[in-house]
């Protein structure tokens, strides 16, 4: 088996891997390769044919393929090596990356640095524990999106969607426009985690009912799905007897959350956060294993690709600095979630430059402020009219405030009582 030395190996050729590669190359790393499992680079953007990508980065609304094409074009300009059709099988703590492809067979890269950019996957039916038969016709929304948008296949004609995340909403519209009948979108929680824009433009525009505080309690069908039962749930999310409604349908799409895809990270011994499902990193996106970095949805699930790109540029620059032998000036300080705050990234930071914290609010907070403090000293504060779990929040910390900080930093929500 062939072993190849590489300064930098990037796992994943989606928006995160592309941005990381571009940034590393621009920072002087010439000996790098991006390993991509699919036959083309671009990741999940390839199947996201709707528009709305790039508003922050480019000031215009692009479709997914258009957004990806810009990074792919820049990567080509820089002469980045992107190896498509190449699946990474394992990563070791010593940064040996084993991969396989039709062209090259089994190969091992001995990498100076590794950037994990594998993205996330959808929660499947098995994660829900919904009773019923194991018939065909139950798909994740993203799988259906791939069938329709990349393969030109319709997964079904009469559709119920469980979960009102943005992918589910987008697929409600896509399936309707491509000729299917979407009977209902069913959401367990009393609110949708999807954008208002998508509720209006993907459901209301097509008169698709949204059932809040409802869930699917039965899945029926011998070979193919024949119908589902939907029930209302109480405040403890338990189905309320007597509220059963049956829908005759041949397709059930699941849009019930995303999970960072960290199988390879685990093999490499990268410590993971139980809150984000991704690696524990410092402000350089450096994981707990020296020379292994993580960025994008494999680190924590983002709402916008623009922020994935931004984070991944920083990971590429940080990997380049690591390869030059540069180390942070100050020891790392721990960053903790306080009240009303979940999944703050990074989980530790070197207080030697400006750092932006990212996190999800634990609930809906109106007219609130997010505060970072260390040993009783306030480091930063940001007010907003609204914080919601559906929108990742950020809090910038200034270098001059961070200088000399050694005690753990806590990020918490401060709510003014306003009825």
């Amino acid at each position: 088996m062939e072993t190849i030395r590489k300064a930098l190996v990037i796992i994943g050729g989606g928006p995160a891997g592309l941005a990381a590669g571009i940034a590393a190359r621009e920072a002087g790393v010439t000996d790098l390769v991006i390993l991509e499992r699919e036959d083309e680079a671009g990741g999940i953007l390839r199947q996201c044919i709707h528009n709305g990508f790039g508003l922050h980065r480019y000031g215009e609304e692009l479709t997914g393929p258009e957004y990806a094409a810009r990074d792919i074009a820049r990567a080509a300009e820089l002469g980045l090596g992107i190896r498509c059709g190449t699946t990474v099988l394992s990563v070791s703590p010593e940064r040996l990356v084993t991969c396989v492809s039709k062209q090259e067979g089994l190969q091992v890269f001995e990498a100076g640095a590794v950037i994990l950019a594998m993205g996330c996957r959808e929660r499947p039916r098995g994660a829900l524990g919904t009773p019923g038969t194991r018939c065909a016709g139950v798909y994740t929304a993203g799988a259906a999106q791939k069938f329709v948008n990349l393969e030109g296949l319709m997964p079904g004609r009469r559709v119920v969607i469980l979960g009102s995340g943005d992918i589910g909403l987008i697929m409600a519209r896509r399936m309707t426009l491509q000729g299917a009948k979407v009977l209902a979108c069913v959401e367990l929680m009393p609110y949708s985690s999807g954008l208002n824009r998508n509720i209006v433009q993907c459901l209301q525009d097509f008169d698709i009912p949204l059932y809040l505080s409802h869930t699917v309690t039965d899945i029926r069908g011998r070979e193919r799905l024949e119908g589902v039962t939907v029930m209302e749930v109480d405040e403890h999310r338990r189905p309320i007897p007597g509220t059963e409604t049956d829908f005759a349908c041949d397709t059930l799409l699941l849009s019930v959350g995303l999970i960072p895809e960290n199988e390879l990270s685990r093999q490499a011994g990268v410590p993971l956060s139980p809150v984000t499902g991704g690696a524990v990193v410092d402000d350089r996106l450096h994981t707990g294993v020296p020379g292994i970095f993580a960025c994008g949805n494999v680190l924590h699930v983002h709402d916008l690709v623009d922020f994935v790109s931004d984070e991944s540029f920083r990971a590429g620059q940080a990997a380049a600095a690591f390869l030059r032998g540069e180390a942070p000036d100050a020891p790392a300080v721990e960053v903790r979630d306080g009240e009303g705050v979940r999944g703050t990234v990074p989980q530790r930071l070197h207080p030697d430059h400006d750092v932006t914290l990212m996190f999800r609010p634990a609930g809906v907070y109106k007219n609130a402020a997010v505060v970072a403090e260390s040993a009783g000293v306030e480091l930063a504060r940001k007010r907003a009219m609204i914080f919601t779990p559906g929108e990742m929040a950020t809090l910038p910390l200034k270098a001059e405030k961070l200088r000399g900080v050694t005690a753990p930093i806590t990020v918490r929500m401060e709510v003014k009582e306003n009825g």
Binding site: I49, N51, P65, E66, G152, L177, N196, D205, I386
Partner: protein, 119 residues
Amino acid sequence: MAERVITCINCPMGCRMTVTLNENGEVTGVAGNTCKRGEVYARQEVTAPVRMVTAVVPVRGSAMPLSVKTRSPIPKKDIAACMEALRGLRLTAPIAAGSTVLSDVCGSGVDVIATKTVD
């Protein structure tokens, strides 16, 4: 006098806005919005709602369909007609991203363009 209640789509606040219209269908007032963007959206949405349309269409000579979009938003009432017009398209590869695949869809003055390249 007529009233319409709509949800603002500009931010997560999702303000519920009540728009008042006179007999001629002109907007006489917007209430319930928190910022100016809400009012602008409300006026547009009740008088002349527009939407971007994106879709996939088959291409002869390619295993994968082609993704397309309207170059700019079209009237909401034309969405179905736009999809019908796209269903009638007979395209052949190669097609470059950004090229027009259907001009002036439904008389909206807006072209439908390819959003990826099919070789």
